[in-house]
Point group: C2
Chain length 287, copies 2
């Protein structure tokens, strides 16, 4: 291997990994090495630039904790997370969008019609819709797991020091026999992704802001169907056109309507809504 | 930006960075985004694979300290460091090779002919040669900064807890009026790069060993010339054909000869050598 040069080194590195021929690991590793080396040759990367990239990754590592995952944030602002979401959206199903850093897998089950805002300030909204397959057949018992920021753009998990409960503004609902789900909550506000670390530095270097449009997070599941992780946004609200993490899709933007006909919907709800948001989830088969 | 899809997102992300048109930052950032997104589309990366990569980077960050830089190690085993070295070698100059993690920028100045081994066990070698420009003109006063592992493959900086001095097996020499340098030391042994972290896991997953062939590290400088960072290896020794970090170049492999004609070289040396290693460094102009 002493005869390698800047053109032959790529094959030498790939060969040095004695991976199972054709395995997925080999495909991904070879693809990664090819792109890394091509990038380096195309850009004629200098030692200073190479070290800058490595120190950036080092700094991302130093600021990361189980609660603050700077590499996911980096993936988000480079549109990598969004691209993976897009590629993995199944035909006919609701489009996927960012999981984000605030999901907890042990949020409390709540009865349909609950209010998950605990009387927080802001606009009270009724959120409702149906969970179906792509032929509009309802999926009774589908699980709708939701979490969100409050009316000032803060997630309770971020403010535990100020006495908020990390389980606030979360709920796991089971759709009824017609696949319907409904609950009330507070309309969330836009907020910024963390920009006090290396990724924030990158945003500033590119004259980019750190704002996300207001949204509700969802994971929706049903036996035999592929679970979807997605977000619901609101028409005419800020940052829909320049979400810092590229999470918005046209199909995920819901209308917010005045609550004049709430009674006609026939839902029992714990809090009187000011407005109504309707969003239907469509799941595709698992296999 | 709500109209983006898996094909248009790449341009949207590039545009979101309002970088100076044509700037180096823009070139590198756009190149990086293009390759990351192309890789993802080509490989149809799944959520699990995406998260595996992010957790790998997270783990690299967690094990990293100022003394243990797992990202440089990752760059090394992927041949990225070597490729950057190759691209940045100037025509006519000695080829560059890995800086590695053990360089200290405040190693002690030592007189020519010193022994930097402090009587360590092993084969004592006389290392000598000339520092010239590419027309063979000597560069008097050139600085030859060297560091190395010992006769068992360990760097003193790694063994400080066992009473070794981190400045052992290092020296900064100033070439004489003819551009010559010479000193004695112990012939280093092969050693492994750290494989107790995520990069070690990657090596094991690819059935790769962590060994590097024995080598001496150098940074050579002279006013007006581009400094070179490189390594000198030894003919017929182990791992020349499968260095874990792809540092070996044909032109960097030196001959190790029995010390029969040392007196004829006319050097004053502090220790009697068993063998002789000759290596000339060629520097190219800075601009």
């Amino acid at each position: 291997m002493r005869d390698i040069n800047q053109f032959t080194i790529t094959e030498a590195v790939k060969k040095s990994f004695r991976t199972e021929e054709g395995s997925r690991f080999e495909q991904l590793l070879h693809g990664l090495i090819d792109h890394l080396h091509d990038f380096t040759r195309e850009q004629q990367v200098t030692h200073e630039e190479w070290m800058r990239v490595l120190m950036f990754l080092y700094d991302c590592g130093q600021i990361s904790t189980p609660e603050r995952h700077e590499f996911i944030l980096l993936s988000d602002v480079l549109g990598w997370s969004a691209l993976v979401d897009m590629i993995n959206t199944r035909g006919g199903a609701t489009e996927g969008s960012n999981l984000g850093p605030f999901y907890l897998d042990d949020a409390p089950r709540k009865p349909l019609g609950s209010d998950i805002s605990d009387g927080r300030d802001g606009v009270t909204i009724l959120v409702h819709g149906k969970v179906t397959d792509s032929l509009h057949n309802p999926l009774p018992g589908a699980i709708v797991d939701t979490w969100q920021a409050d009316g000032s753009g803060t997630y309770p998990i971020q403010e535990q020091a100020q006495g908020q409960d990390k389980m606030d503004l979360r709920g796991v609902f089971e759709a009824d026999a017609s696949g319907r789900y409904w609950y009330t909550t507070v309309l969330p506000k836009p907020y910024t992704v963390p920009y006090d670390g290396p990724v924030g530095e990158l945003l500033r270097a590119g004259n980019r802001h750190a704002w996300r449009p207001a949204h509700l997070h969802y994971i929706v599941r049903h036996p035999g169907m592929a679970a979807i992780t997605t977000e619901v946004f609101f028409e005419k609200m800020d940052y829909l056109e320049n979400d810092a993490v590229f999470g918005v899709r046209k199909s995920l933007v819901a209308k917010v309507s005045p609550a004049k006909d709430v009674d006609a919907l026939g839902y029992e709800v714990a809090a009187k809504p000011d407005a109504v948001v309707e969003f239907d989830f469509i799941l595709a088969p698992e296999s």
